[in-house]
Amino acid sequence: MRLKQLLISLLFILVSLTTMIQADEEHKGANEAQTTAHKEYHPKSLSELGVSFLETTGIKAIVDTNDGEMSSDPAGESKEHKLGAFESSFGRIIMILIVFLLFYLAIAKGFEPLLLIPIAFGGLLANIPLAHMAGPEGMLGVIYNMGIANEFFPLLIFMGVGAMTDFAPLLANPKTALLGGAAQFGIFGSLVGAVVLGFDIQDASAISIIGGADGPTSIFIANRLAPDMLGAIAVAAYSYMALVPVIQPPIMRALTTKEERQIKMGVQRRVHRLEKLLFPIVVLMLSIMILPESTPLIGAFAFGNFAKESGVVDRLSDTMQNSLINTVTIFLGLGVGSKLAADKFLVLESLGIMIIGLLAFSAGTAMGVLMAKLMNKFSKEPINPLIGAAGVSAVPMSARVVSKVGAEEKPGNVLLMHAMGPNVAGVIGSAVAAGVLLSIFK
């Protein structure tokens, strides 16, 4: 019976098609000018065909360092150049090894896999010879132009993060927001460090935002101030965010006494729903008044948070927190990965970026802790200086580290919610710091 069906269908199509054999002529005439002009095909002998096939293999492209291959850039030819011998051979191999290292860290060690896997895979694709996947017509280039060149994707991520963030811990104890301010020393301290290392002051500013410990903020700023370094900056930012549990504890212990680390903090008051609803609006209004340059970041974040707290658009808030942020994360990662092409990543600057990134996280942590010590001195209610470390953001990782270190010092001392305050304030603080840098270089 199915066969009959098939035959009838084919017959029908056949009949339809034959009706227009004469019509076809008409079409041919009209269409003549606009048919796709194929390049003329020149016949080749089988061995010529084989040789010309071998010419297009990846192995040949890597071994032959002088084949005149061009680099790829989403912006097209104006940003492309002839690849050097190193860039088109060992450079690719080193990058592929780095990508494998990132895979290993993401999968076996749990380093921020949600972003490092797409970034690293994008990096792998960007280093394929001849395929030009990072060019304007390649998959990575299309993605890059769709949402990274115009900073749309980082903002969408920030919107989703906003919809996932709960500001209740900050609202219960607002003054801990200042700890999220102190930790921004990670940004400005490393800015000085980057200039000392020899970076141009604008590049140094772009790099220093790694100290903000917020991926989308870093990508947003890197894209504005130093797009060529985007790959290295994003990799450094996410790698060190993943290393927060390794980097922070020694610094936290070095700067505090055992007594301080054992300080217990009271139970947080319950926060009224209206406070949570108004908070994103308040933050946005403040940033409008003081620092309009920060409003793209803070605006996107506040929108997500406001949608969630409004309680009347759960459909939209769920979408922001799930399918939308997931889709954008895939694209953002692949797009950023396009900047891991050997000719862009394997430059001395990347080494500098890695060093400064480590410096930035350390400086931010230290200043957060010191500020918390200071506040503890002058505050009526005791403040455990450890929570200052959460001010670097890296939400919610650093708040968890604080809680873990606190519990080790004094079992039963749960600092998590207290650390979440500076933690989310750190997100705002970094966005403000980013706005300041943008306003300087505007």
Partner: protein, 81 residues
């Protein structure tokens, strides 16, 4: 034109930047504390804002989920007897 000392410039950025960040957060703290007081005063009960019924389009989805659960329980009941 004298050579620019960029480290000096970076230090100035630090002063400006940390200043603005603290200023921003400081005002934020004050506003938020004030707001908390006002809300506590004028909306004492923590049952604010009517939540209107969720939009119609959602209900079907919900009912499907409920149906799945009911099916599970029914299945279990059947298996037992």
């Amino acid at each position: 034109m004298a050579e620019v000392n960029y480290v000096m410039e970076a230090l100035k950025f630090m002063v400006l930047g940390m200043g603005v960040v603290f200023l921003f957060l400081f005002i934020l703290v004050i506003v938020v504390e004030l707001q908390a007081k006002l809300i506590a005063k004028y909306f004492p009960e923590n049952t604010p804002i009517k939540t209107p019924a969720t939009p119609a389009v959602d209900t079907e989805d919900e009912s499907r989920r409920v149906a799945a659960i009911i099916a599970a329980v029914t299945e279990f009941r059947k298996n037992k007897s």
